[in-house]
């Protein structure tokens, strides 16, 4: 049976959609096709501002700007014969490209047979035939850079560790995805565990390691279970252990669990945690590539990085290097979330513009609100306001804007989000997660948070804005590890782009987006009020009283500025100031 999903994607043709649906069903019945197809009205079809849209399943054809006159044709061609109606088809260039996520949702992650059927472990076979030097050479051609955030070239990392003499070396997969708002690592670990294992083995071969360790958040139990299952089956198939695939390469893998500490995403802290200690970072140098886990040379690669490696070895570094742009090759997975219509994981070639990601793939923001900015890089990153959305995605291009690529969180902010509030949120996160070992991060973060709280309550002064910048710079320069060095970034980037908003808080004591509760007050416009009483019903403080005749009023003394009346009023009678 076919399904015809329909939606009015402009949001203003309710009646036309209903007529379309009825007419479609009637015509199906007249032709005796009622059991062959079903019309379903859906809430979000993933296409926007294209009139009435129909998606025909299982074929997946998407028809746009429809009217009832075309129904007959659709039934004859598509429903009865399974053919396309060419001129109605959505002209959709697929802007996404799946490398890291290539098998996610495509194969059964618990079946090694299915992974092998899609050329799995072929990259490893090639690597074994090539030998370590050539593997690193191939990685150099590919130009793959670390997908965990910092973007250090993977081949260089491997080459350094390869050059260090040592009887025992380690390769660790950093699966401690702690950045709030990012979940691509979890998806890869759960959806395609073998590709990460294969990448780790190739890395192990290249650097001369015989032991691999997966460090995965305990909060991701399914990811842990799937990786464990994949490791077990690899041992039974001779893909792990001694003399892998008949070569002289020996490799073992085990899993260690994280325990909920964001700082453990930092390399040296991660190593301490694998060693069973508190996740305190250490001063560098010595870098882990020289002296890492148990004092041995150690490479730490991110999940997404490893998932790309088997692809590179199988298809060749040159082919990979052609994807993306100079200096930033390949693709990047982003977790596109926040106030965007189509949220979820997207994988795009580097060099695509932010606008294409947010609008063409994400469908823009809800309810025609104004988009304000995107935030990338999580607590270590910054905001990028709308005027820079035509910037192509790359490590350097985002850095120039005061943000970072990061691990791939991309959070869309609209006009209702306040710059002060969002930087307070991120800084609060870092203060919570600071390990407390070094003073700049421990004290600096706390003091900045105190100032931001003051500002959001309307008690800040212009002097506070200067202080914020001073402390931020001190933290960047003097903190021991990446957490402290980057914690002020969200504050600095919002100061840079949304200074006017900060000034509105400290000078006018107003929050322009109405987010900071202590700076907004609510009242009711009696002319617009219909007396429906919805506001009074939802008010948790019983601050709203009135009757249908007299209309309603808010008692400012009782009001707690929660904004529920504002959200619930259908007649825009509640005023926020």
């Amino acid at each position: 049976m076919k399904r015809i999903l329909i939606q009015d994607t402009n949001g203003d043709q309710k009646k036309a959609l209903r007529d379309f649906s009825v007419s479609f069903t009637t015509q199906l019945r007249e032709r005796g096709l009622s059991d062959a197809a079903q019309v379903v009205t859906v809430a979000d079809i993933g296409v926007y501002n294209k009139g009435i849209v129909a998606k025909i399943l299982p074929e997946g054809f998407i028809y746009v700007n429809l009217d009832a006159a075309r129904i007959g044709e659709i039934i004859e061609k598509t429903i009865q014969k399974g053919e396309k109606v060419q001129d109605l088809l959505l002209d959709k260039k697929n802007k996404q490209m799946r490398l890291g996520l290539r098998n996610c949702g495509v194969i059964d992650p618990e079946s090694i047979e299915e992974y092998i059927a899609v050329d799995g472990y072929q990259g490893l076979a090639k690597a074994l035939a090539m030998g370590p030097e050539k593997v690193i050479e191939e990685m150099k051609k590919a130009g793959l850079r670390g997908r965990g955030g910092a973007g250090f070239p993977t081949w260089m990392k491997w080459n350094i560790t390869r050059g260090i003499k040592g009887d025992l070396k380690y390769i660790i997969c950093n699966g401690d995805e702690g950045d709030p708002g990012a979940y691509m690592d979890r998806s890869v670990l759960e959806g395609d565990p073998h590709s990460v294992i294969e990448g780790m083995m190739i890395g192990g071969l290249a650097i001369g390691a015989t032991q691999g360790i997966f460090y995965i958040r305990a909060e991701y139990p399914l990811a842990v279970a799937r990786i464990q299952k994949a490791i077990d089956v690899c041992y039974t198939k001779g893909l792990l252990g001694k003399n892998i695939l008949g070569s002289s390469f020996n490799f073992d893998i085990e899993i260690r669990l994280g325990a909920g500490a964001f700082v453990c995403g930092e390399e040296t802290a991660l190593i301490a945690s694998v060693e069973g200690l508190r996740g305190y970072p250490r001063p560098r140098p010595p870098f882990p590539s020289v002296k890492g886990l148990w004092g041995k040379p150690t490479v730490i690669n991110n999940v997404e990085t490893l998932a790309n490696i088997s692809y590179i070895l199988f298809h060749g570094g040159e082919a990979f290097g052609k994807i993306g742009v100079e200096g930033s090759t390949g693709t990047k997975v982003f977790a596109l979330t926040g106030k965007v219509r189509n949220s979820g994981l997207v994988e795009v070639p580097m060099g695509i513009t932010l606008r294409e990601i947010v609008f063409d793939i994400g469908g823009g923001v809800f309810e025609n609100r104004k988009i304000k900015a995107i935030q990338t890089g999580g607590p270590s990153g910054g905001v990028i306001p709308e005027q820079f959305f035509d910037t192509p995605v790359g490590y350097e291009s985002l850095q120039k804007l005061g943000s970072i690529m990061g691990s791939g969180g991309m959070i869309v902010l609209d006009e209702n989000d306040c710059a002060v509030d969002i930087s307070k949120f991120y800084l609060g996160f870092c203060v919570d997660e600071s390990c407390g070992k070094c003073a700049p991060c421990r004290i600096g973060g706390t003091q900045m948070l105190v100032i931001l709280k003051k500002i959001s309550e309307g008690k800040g002064t212009e002097d506070d804005l200067k202080k914020l910048e001073q402390i931020a710079q001190a933290m960047q320069k003097a903190s021991l590890c990446g957490l402290g060095q980057t914690a002020p970034n969200p504050v600095l980037s919002t100061l840079k782009y949304f200074m006017a908003e900060y000034r509105a808080h400290v000078i006018d004591h107003k929050c322009p987006s109405g987010k900071c509760a202590s700076l907004v007050s609510y009242s009711i416009n009696k002319e617009k009020c219909t007396g429906c009483g919805m506001c009074a019903r939802v008010c948790p403080a019983d601050a709203i009283t009135g009757t249908r005749q007299e209309k309603y009023t808010i008692d400012a003394a009782k009001c707690i500025s929660c904004g529920q009346c504002f959200d619930v009023c259908k007649f825009t009678a509640v005023i926020r100031q």
Binding site: E177, G178, D179, P180, G181, A182, Y183, R186, A218, E219, Y220, E254, R256, L257, G258, A259, G260, A261, F262, S273, V274, E275, G276, L277, R278, G279, W294, A335, T337, G338, K339, S343, G344, L345, Q375, G378, G409, I411, L413, D417, I422, F425, Y426, F429, C435, P540, C562, Q564
Partner: protein
């Protein structure tokens, strides 16, 4: 808690990990998986059997958020406060739960039924804001939905 069982449980866990270096965190994970938290008695027992000072064990236990030192409630409500959930109204959900259950974050209701915890990111930002009650995930939760979610579970308790 039967002390004898606890000694055996700890023995089993410690034996499983004894050949691995840096095993303390993994031992504590196994213990928490079994009891839902790490009881003080178990920590003492680990200290005895693995011959490491109690301070060394608590040093680790108190550093990592994941380890709980208090028994959890019958149901664990986790409210995600990742960025996406935060922007889409998770703070209001926390308020509502506090209000309805008279419970603060990280604490258990007096009847021991609900434990409220705030988590950083559940890794399903596409569904924001998200609440989980034990393994069950509630997505795109609105303030008005909270009472229903709680009722669903308190009903289950009163039936039994």
């Amino acid at each position: 808690m039967v002390v004898e069982n606890l000694v055996n449980d700890v023995k089993e866990v410690v034996t499983r990990w004894k050949d691995k270096e840096g095993n303390l965190i993994m031992i504590l994970h196994d213990i928490q998986d079994r009891y839902g938290y790490v009881p003080r008695e178990a920590a003492l027992e680990v200290s005895r059997q693995s011959d490491s000072p109690l301070a060394r064990i608590y040093e680790v236990l108190t550093f990592y958020n994941y380890f709980k030192l208090q028994p959890p409630g019958r149901f664990n409500i986790s409210v995600c406060l990742g960025t996406a959930c935060y922007l889409k109204g998770a703070p209001a959900l926390i308020d509502e739960i506090r209000h309805l259950l008279h419970v603060e974050e990280g604490a258990t209701t007096k009847d021991g039924i609900f434990h409220l915890q705030i988590v950083r990111c559940l890794g399903c930002c596409g569904l924001a804001p998200v609440i989980t009650v034990d393994e069950k995930v509630y997505s795109a939760v609105k303030r008005a939905d909270v009472a229903g979610i709680i009722a669903e579970h308190s009903k289950a308790v009163s039936k039994n």
